[in-house]
Every structure is written in structure tokens, then in C-alpha cells.
Symmetry: C2
Subunit: 338 residues, 2 copies
DNA sequence: TTGTAGGCGTTATCAG
DNA sequence: CTGATAACGCCTACAA
């Protein structure tokens, strides 16, 4: 036993409860896991013993024995940006209702490879995995394949998801925003965003949409990912001289949009007349700022809920082994900047 | 074995690796946990076998056997607000360096009692606990006492922490902001904040500081606890008529401060001349918005790091059982709104 | 409805 | 430096 872990008072375990309630350990286990298979008064006696002793079941031991950890590992780049907060929250809540704990791990953007993190999580024997994005490294794919653990990918889409997927098409978002701008008569466009796979997908969709209508795209620098307001302001300041005439800008996130709008007004641009701006994420800021700005809303709550639903179904054996792919709605919320 | 968990291909386990490397399982375990106690070539052979078989150790089994999960449970109200993001991130990183995984759980503000969540986490046998705040219910205290697990509380202070504590004094923050305003000649004050223990502590410190100087406090309504920009704008709009003369307002968070500033300018208040505002949290928004606003910066990174340091020391048995209490610095960052 | 036997995959401990 | 043995605390499977 390691130093510092010496438990002077032994932990209360299932056998202690069993002894106190004068039943077999297995009966205590049943009271906890399948109460309907125990007679009411036995159950009551056991529960009294549990309370009296302050028994907390050891899920580690239970997990080893049953080969089910009742735990789901979720890997998300960050929750700082509020981008992933909704899906994570609703996923956690929904899984909780189904009797699963969610262990949240933050991968950061790019630091350390994902496969290492996945391996670390797999070592804890999760019953399922929630991953962000749909592009896995070969290492990660191999790891997941041999682990044979149900996986849900969210927040992106792919023809061939690893297993299940609940996301949306970022290219389509870009295209939709382009169409939105085009429909309002814009002919000059700009994109400001981070160098991130999904942001790039939105960008390329945006560019496609523009090209289809013969619009002009003002070239812009990439931001580092996670984008900050200040960085966005700087970036806009740098590109401002290149903006000859009325321009429609699609920002990679609402933080970027806010930075752009802030700086643009400081520089004397009138928003939306000279510069129309659409953000992404529908953060509270997009509603709370003045002017409130147009943005793309993705139903993150639905995403988390659906992901949980698919995962729970799989865990309950209610679905086959086939791949499941669901897309979640998004739409443009028009406000005062377009 | 439950439906859906039938592993068609058996998992690779330590005995498989041992067989492949022609050593005893125990030797494989040593290669993984105490490499220096294994001869280099044996270790190499074992590592080859591990790679060849794609062995991922089962930490659940290991934890059961060693009684050490190498996992820390962290319970935080939310990470949506970016308030707790820094400490959580730095804590996670630091614990990771020490060989621990951090399992993050979100308690939400008030929904469900904390004791239930703590019990759920304890069932997974964490080697330590990170808790937010320093006020525990009797249930929670009892649970923690019987579990005999090292606990670090962060983000608040108390005379009698449960175990270890790394935080700061919210009352002192309030008092300091009051002194800051008083030093600038303010005589009329307001506080706008959420109905949350720590926000209330900041408020009472603020009120004490004002009272000591005979200032006037404009009465204000409480916000609901996670405060939003829009709600803050509404609240300010409601209190604005009561603001007779130059007023100094302390907001419970930078989001609230931003809402106040936004609405105040819309209503024609000049900031900071008629209305001085100080936020709390030093969110990116406080730097990125115009005007950039004065706020209280708390060194969240230091907090997470220190918390990890204390916990690791305790886990390594390098400290006694005495209570540890550390305070982390905070300071006012003066910008354009005061 | 309740109980018994055995094992889940790993590591502590002691022996060589 | 390496190995054999016996837990760790619980649950599956089967029996009563």
C-alpha cells in the first residue's frame, strides 16, 4: 500500500453491509442494482444498513467484475469558448439520466496528440466515448477499432464516421452564409477565422458559395485558434485598408465577429452599411452587444441529446452495429449587423 | 455479461503480454509502473510485446488492486462562464504531469445537491478531490470525512476548510474595490450581482468599505445566478432612474459589467464620468470591448497550480495531516471605465 | 427470492 | 532483477 494511502479505518464494503443486514453480499448488490428482484422488507433492511454504515459502493470493483464501468469519456478541445458547452452539458445530463457518468477531458487545440489522450481514457474502461470532430488520425482509429467501444462523434460530419455521428456540415454553413449575403446584394466578401479544421471547412463552403455568384473575396490572414477578441480587432485593422467598398464578412466565431465590429466602428466603418458581419455560435455576446449581431445558431443542446440517445441505444443493445449518422439543424439569426 | 458488451475478440491483457514476452505478468506491470526495477533488455522485450499486441492497461483492475485510482475528481459549478476555466485547466495540466487524470464534473448552480454528486464521484475511488467554494453542507462534510480522501477547496476561503484550501477572500475583493473607488473621490455606489454565496461576500465587503467612508449605496436587485449580459442590461435600465449623480458600480462579473456599460451608454450616461464601472474576472471581454473596462483579476492559473501542488504533496505523503490554507493574489486592473 | 462459487485484470508482498 | 501467490471488492452464473 502506497505511502499516504494507508487507510487507518478500513472502508465499509459490501460484506459489511451484508453482515449488518444479515443477508448475503449478493443481496446487497441486488438492492443497489436490481431492486425489483429483492423482497421489499429485505430491501428495507439492507437500505437501513447502508445508511447506518454510510456505505458507498466501489464502482471500480463493480466495474471490474461486471466489465461495465457505467462511465463515458468525453474529449473536447476546450470549453473556454462556450462553443462546446451546450452539447457537453446536455450530453452529460442525458447520460446521467441513463445512469452513466461522463468523464470530461480537455484536449486543447493541437497540444499533444489525440491518440495518447484516447488511450489514457480507454485505460479507464469507458463504456462509450464522445469525441469532437470527425477526423481521426490513423493511430486513433486503430486504437478505437481494437477497443471495440461505442463512439459518438459530434460537431462535424464525415462520410465515414468512426462509429456514430451527430453533427452538422461546416461547409454547408459557409455556403448558407454566402447565400444569405448574396441574397442581400453583396458582391464583396471576407472571411476572418482561425486555422482550425472546421473553421476552414466553413471558409471553403463560404468561398464556394461566393464563387458561384462571381463575388470577390478579400484575402485575409488566419487567426491562431482559439481566437481572441483582441487578435480579431488587430486582424481587422490590418485588413481594413484592403476593403474597397461595401463588404460582407463571415467570422469564425462570435468572439471574432465582436472584435471585428468593435474595431470597424472605431475605424469609422458604418455597420452594417459599409461592413456587414455574420458571426458563428450564437454566443450570448451576439445578443447582448450593441449592435446585436447576426450569427449562425447551431442547436448544441439537440446535438448532445441526440448523441446521448444513440449511445444509450447502442449500450442497451437496441441497435445494430451499423453506422449512425445524424445531422443537427443550424440557422442564421439575423440581427443588426447585416 | 450485459447485452451489447459481448466482446467478440477478447481484450489483450497483461498475461497476454507476459506470455508474448516470456516473462511473468508482474514483470510487465513493473515495466509499466517502475521501469527502473527491470533490466533494460527485459523491459525492451516487454515493450515490444506491448506494442505488437496493442496492449492498453486496465486501470480499473490496477486501481482495485493497488487501491489507488490515479484519478482526481473535480467538481465545478460551470465552465460556461470562463470564471473557473483557468484554475481547472492549470490544475488538470499540473496533475497530469504528476500522473493523475482529472475527472471533471459540473454541478451547475444549485440544481441537485452537492452531496449526491460527491457521493457519485467517491464511488469511483478518486485519490483526491477538487471542490469549488469552501462552504459544504453537513451531508457533504460527513461524506468527505468518512471517505478520508484528500480534498482541496478552491475559489473561496474559510477559517475551517474541509482539508486544504487555495482561494481568496471575496469580502476583501469587495472592500478593495470600495477603497479603489473611494480613493478616486466617489461618494455614491452601486452593486449589481447574482444571488450567489461568493458574489454576496464580495457585495458585503464592498458595502463595508463604503460604510466606513460614509458613502451612499444605491439599492439594487439581485440577478439570477449565471448572470447574462441581457439580464444585466435590463437590471441597469431599471436602476438607472435611481442614479442621482456620479455613481461607482461594482459588478459581480465581467459579463454583468459589460451589460451595464452597454446599457448605460445607450441611456446616455457617460462612462466613466457619470458612471464608473468595475467588473470581476478579467475576462477577455474586459480587454476586448470598447471602452475596455476596469476589473478585478484573480490569478486562476496560480490557484490551480497551487491546488495541484498541495494535493500532490499530500498524495506523496510529503505533508502531514494538518490543514493547509493558501491565498492567491488578486488585483484591480484599471482600464477606461473608472 | 436468496445464496454460493468463482473470477474480472491488476498489483502488493514475499521468496528466490 | 524476476517470479509465484494472494488479494482488491464486486458481480455473473448457477444452484437452492
Amino acid at each position: 500500500m502506497g505511502i499516504g494511502t494507508k487507510r487507518q479505518f478500513p472502508t465499509v464494503k459490501i460484506t459489511d453491509v451484508a453482515a449488518a443486514a444479515r443477508v448475503a453480499p449478493m443481496t446487497v448488490s441486488r438492492v443497489l442494482n436490481t431492486p425489483d428482484r429483492v423482497s421489499p422488507d429485505t430491501a428495507a433492511r439492507v437500505r437501513d444498513a447502508i445508511d447506518a454504515l454510510g456505505y458507498v459502493p466501489n464502482l471500480i470493483a463493480g466495474g471490474l467484475s461486471s466489465r461495465r464501468s457505467r462511465m463515458i469519456a468525453a474529449i473536447v478541445p476546450t470549453i473556454a469558448s462556450s462553443m462546446f458547452h451546450e452539447p457537453v452539458q446536455s450530453f452529460t445530463d442525458a447520460m446521467g439520466r441513463a445512469g452513466y457518468h461522463v468523464m470530461l477531458a480537455l484536449s486543447g487545440y493541437g497540444r499533444g496528440d489525440e491518440a495518447t489522450l484516447i488511450r489514457a481514457m480507454l485505460a479507464r474502461q469507458p463504456d462509450g466515448l464522445l469525441l469532437t470532430g470527425a477526423r481521426r488520425s490513423p493511430d486513433a482509429r486503430r486504437l478505437l477499432a481494437t477497443a471495440r467501444v461505442p463512439v459518438v462523434e459530434i460537431w462535424d460530419t464525415a462520410e465515414q464516421p468512426t462509429d456514430m455521428l451527430v453533427g452538422f456540415d461546416h461547409e454547408e454553413v459557409g455556403a448558407k452564409v454566402a447565400a444569405f449575403f448574396v441574397a442581400r446584394g453583396h458582391t464583396r466578401f471576407a472571411f476572418l477565422g482561425a486555422h482550425d479544421v472546421r473553421a476552414m471547412a466553413r471558409r471553403s463552403g463560404f468561398e464556394r458559395g461566393i464563387a458561384a455568384h462571381g463575388g470577390t473575396l478579400v484575402p485575409t490572414a488566419m487567426l491562431s485558434a482559439p481566437s481572441t477578441i483582441l487578435e480579431s480587432r488587430q486582424a481587422f485593422r490590418a485588413m481594413a485598408p484592403k476593403l474597397a467598398g461595401r463588404t460582407a464578412l463571415f467570422a469564425t466565431s462570435d468572439l471574432v465577429a465582436f472584435g471585428v465590429i468593435t474595431e470597424a466602428r472605431l475605424l469609422g466603418f458604418s455597420v452594417p452599411d459599409q461592413l456587414a458581419v455574420c458571426g458563428f455560435g450564437d454566443f450570448e455576446l451576439s445578443r447582448g452587444a450593441t449592435p446585436a449581431f447576426t450569427t449562425v445558431h447551431v442547436d448544441g443542446t439537440a446535438m448532445g441529446l441526440l448523441a446521448a440517445k444513440h449511445l444509450v441505444a447502442r449500450l442497451a443493445g437496441r441497435t445494430g452495429g451499423g453506422a449512425h449518422r445524424a445531422l443537427v439543424p443550424f440557422h442564421i439569426i439575423e440581427r443588426e449587423t447585416t
